[in-house]
Amino acid sequence: MKFFKSLTTGQRTIALSLGFMLVLSIVRLFTNADDITSSGTLSSTLRVATPILLAGLAGVWAERVGIVNIGIEGMMIVGTWFGAYGAWKWGSWAGIALAIFAGSLVGLLHALATVRFNVNHVVSGIAINILAAGATEYLSIIFFKGQKGGGESQSPAGKGGYGEFDMPFLSGGRIGSWRSPDILGWLEKKHDLPLLPDLAGVLRGLVSDIYVPTIVAIALVPITAYILWRTRFGLRVRSSGESPQAGESLGVSINRLRYQAMAISGGLAAFGGAYLSCVFTSTYRQGQTGGQGYIGLATTIFGNWTPFGVFRGAILFGFPSALKFRDEKNVPALLLVIAVILVALGIVSAMKNKQILTMGLFIGSAISAATYFLVDDVPQEFVAATPYIVTILVLAGAQQQLRPPAYAGIPYRAGENH
């Protein structure tokens, strides 16, 4: 315990990830569910996680500047529609660009309501969600209905793809026309070894078969962190969410900052939406977002309003979803993973002398292990619900240590604080 505390944050993250990999590796050897650490699972995890990641980053930008953005879902919906429209008319990247532009406008609309007219942030956000759902349906009737492949709830297919990326040497990417060896792929197939194939699989998942927009989205994590914590603009954004009076009294224009940050937030959310309608699939479908905006907002919260926290949250949610997509037989293995993790948490809490918590964790562990061994057929509904259950469990567990921006969602009028 003392040793762990002496580590830096980076070292702790590495130690925890290695520990987690070890758990996965043991479970894989035990259950033969090879997919839980395969590169395919990992790359589809990234694919599932990307829209959530972008929605989460949208939440970070909004809440850090002091605005609660329940409207992320609506901004994503706008993104799905405009992304598909742009991709259909002009090609794939134009779709994403158009979506980001449209999303920024919706973000500005939310800012206008909350900053200029002081509308309650939740009310304005919900209005945006309803408006977005209605408006896109209406626009579909005008623009998509009667087109080839289009209809009132669906767009025609978009033009062009995005290109996939494989890292040379590590996962067999091409250099010119020469195909380099796939080192990680070779290592991954040594299923009898512990840990090594798992690490290889995870790494290979990160560097093979990746859409370029995914790379852009992941790059936005450190970029957001850099802007928020290293630049003047970022410091002012954070001060606006913590204590707008402080900034205002020092000559910072809080209102302008809030418009700017909300434009960024809306653009990011719409990028997430466009990812669904242009990258993940190639058509817009009504209801395509399926509440991912809300899940993104949840990752904002349990990511403690930091970009890297959001990234973790998005992966955490994406992983069970990806397993489910690849082969539903993998999901029961997750129960064992949960059991092992609960035992580990139980040991930690026992060392901290928290008896009730320890007992709860051990009982939880026993239940999930018993379920794995006793139940042969996991019901379809449970499989579908796994990502949500995992999200709820983590939310509940993380709740206590979170520190939201102090002024997020509180009405503020410039010049009224003196």
């Binding site: 290293r230 630049t231 003047r232 603009f233 410091l235 002012r236 954070r238 001060s239 913590e242 204590s243 009076q245 402080a246 900034g247 009294s249 020092l250 000559g251 910072v252 520190r403 921006p405 102090a406 604080n417 003196h418």
Partner: protein, 523 residues
């Protein structure tokens, strides 16, 4: 009093003044806040501006800081006639203001709070943290501050936060500092530290304008004094030429009420009896918040509790009220044991409470006055019609309280936030007295109120005491404790560490007991 003689020789206007205000008049719709004010501040001095709450001190300082423009009059800074449209103009002219309510972002570091709005950046907008840090550390050395500029502001105490506010102002190159009631939130030791800091700044060539209504500190630490009364400047003087009393009379404009002296006797029956009270700390495993507290308050007696804030006074009040579950010990009111009764029943038995923080606990700021005076008295048959509240009766009752305590307000319909601090406090005191309690827990009953309101509240407390009310008085104002109390207990670290006799106690003596330097029972 360093530099005192130097000011004695020279007279106004001899050298260039740091700040010169002539004929400043500021009107708001329906009110003249400032009228023909003259203010002359010599460079390198601590200049106090004293006056009652609502006398117009803050309005004047906002004018000087560019937060609004005067309707008439001129502002001259360092010999140059200026017009400030915004605080940014004032900052550019070297004026900085430390607001009474701190404007700090808790979750940002000290450095981030200080540089906000004036960040040193490269051409890409990236903050140069090293440059910022170097400058801040240099300023901290000159202030004598010793915190790590990378810690979050949330980890700082009130005194340190104030120092960060001062650093913010200095970082922007201010040479003239305005401090708006800086000591209102500080405990005595922190006040001392603040003035040490200000003396250093003045020695380095800064000028400090210090707004206050606490006469002791003004007399002890300031070089010159300007008195503001009812929106205009009435006197310019120096501490050596006035006494505490004459200064107070200048502020109020009339003679002050006599200090205490009692004719009635302390009653025999014990109204409040606390025996062997123990209360667990906030965190499991931490030390006790209250340890073996024994207090008795008789009818017609005021028992004062002295102590630096945070030494258990708040917990004691909450335990007596039943807001906290005690570990062991007993509490009784008029001989009735209270251990297993609800707060509601305790209030019905005659317990009443003037809370520590009128904004957080005492008032609903957005609610009208009549709703506020009804709070906690919902079961008072005189204010209800069966199960319904009777608005007529409550409003009449509220008007009685307003009249009796001299609350300055247009009517009982205005929201509580519209009242000044002193009037809010009078309303709270009036409400708590209106139920004719048998025992009153009065926590800082005159904190942040002006001299006039203070005298009114003191009168009411004495009057009620003479009629048999038992009062447990918690106060940081040592004069108030010594003047009002029949006995004084000192609390330190969750324990009662001394019993003192107010007839022989002095503020200095209380101070040494309060900081735990001396313990043990005394006369």
């Amino acid at each position: 009093m360093t530099g005192q003689s130097q000011f004695g020789q020279s007279h106004l206007g001899q050298s260039q003044l740091a700040v010169e205000l002539h004929g400043i008049t500021k009107r708001f719709p329906g009110v003249i806040a400032n009228h023909d004010i003259e203010l002359l501040v010599r460079p390198g001095t601590i200049h106090a501006i004293v006056g009652e709450n609502g006398a117009g001190k803050s309005t004047l300082m906002k004018t000087l800081y560019g937060m609004h423009q005067p309707d008439e009059g001129t502002i001259t800074v360092n010999g140059t006639l200026v017009q400030f449209k915004t605080p940014t103009d004032a900052i550019a002219a070297g004026i900085g203001m430390v607001h009474q309510h701190f404007m700090l972002a808790d979750n940002l570091t000290i450095t981030e709070n200080i540089i906000l709005g004036a960040e040193p950046v490269d051409h890409r907008g990236r903050i140069n943290f090293k440059e910022a840090r170097d400058r801040i550390e240099a300023l901290m050395t000159s202030l004598g501050a010793t915190f790590n500029p990378d810690t979050n502001v949330s980890e700082l105490g009130v005194g340190q936060r104030q120092r960060v506010e001062i650093l913010k102002v200095l970082y922007r190159g201010a040479k003239i500092l305005i401090l708006d009631e800086p000591t209102a939130v500080l405990v005595p030791q922190e006040v001392e530290e603040l003035f040490t800091t200000l003396k250093r700044l003045v020695a380095d060539g800064a000028t400090v304008i210090f707004i206050s209504h606490k006469l002791d500190e003004v007399l002890a630490y300031c070089d010159e004094i300007t008195v503001i009364r009812q929106g205009t400047s009435v006197a310019h003087t120096e501490p050596s030429q006035v006494t505490r009393r004459s200064l107070a009379e200048l502020m109020v404009g009339s003679d002050l009420p006599d200090p205490s002296g009692r004719e009635t006797k302390v009653g025999d029956d014990v109204r409040l009896q606390v025996t062997g009270l123990n209360l667990a700390g906030d965190i499991a495993g931490a030390k006790l918040a209250l340890e073996d507290i024994n207090v008795a308050v008789h009818a017609g007696e005021i028992v004062g509790i002295a102590g630096v804030e945070g030494n258990g006074q708040f917990e004691l009040c909450e335990s007596i009220l039943g807001l906290r579950t005690i570990l062991s010990g007993s509490i009784s009111v008029c001989g009735q044991e209270l251990s297993h009764t609800e707060t509601r029943e305790r209030i019905n038995m005659g317990l009443s409470y003037i809370p520590f923080d009128r904004h957080r606990e005492g008032l609903l700021l957005d609610a009208p006055l009549w709703e506020n005076t009804f709070l906690g008295r919902e079961e008072n048959a005189g204010l209800t019609n069966g199960p319904f509240i009777s608005r007529n009766k409550i409003e009449a009752d509220c008007r009685t309280i307003i009249d009796r305590f001299g609350v300055l307000t247009p009517s009982e319909q205005v929201p509580a936030f519209a009242l000044s601090g002193g009037n809010q406090q009078k309303l709270v005191v009036g409400r708590e007295m209106a139920g004719h309690p048998k025992i009153l827990l009065a926590a800082h009953p005159t904190r942040g109120v002006d001299v006039g309101a203070q005298a009114a509240i003191w009168d009411e407390l004495r009057h009620a005491r003479d009629n048999g009310l038992g009062v447990l008085l918690i106060s940081a104002d040592l004069e108030e404790l010594i003047g009002l109390s029949d006995r004084i207990l000192v609390m330190f670290d969750g324990r009662v560490t001394a019993h003192l006799n107010p007839a022989t106690a002095t503020p200095e003596m209380l101070g040494t007991y309060m900081t735990g330097e001396e313990q043990g029972v005394d006369g």
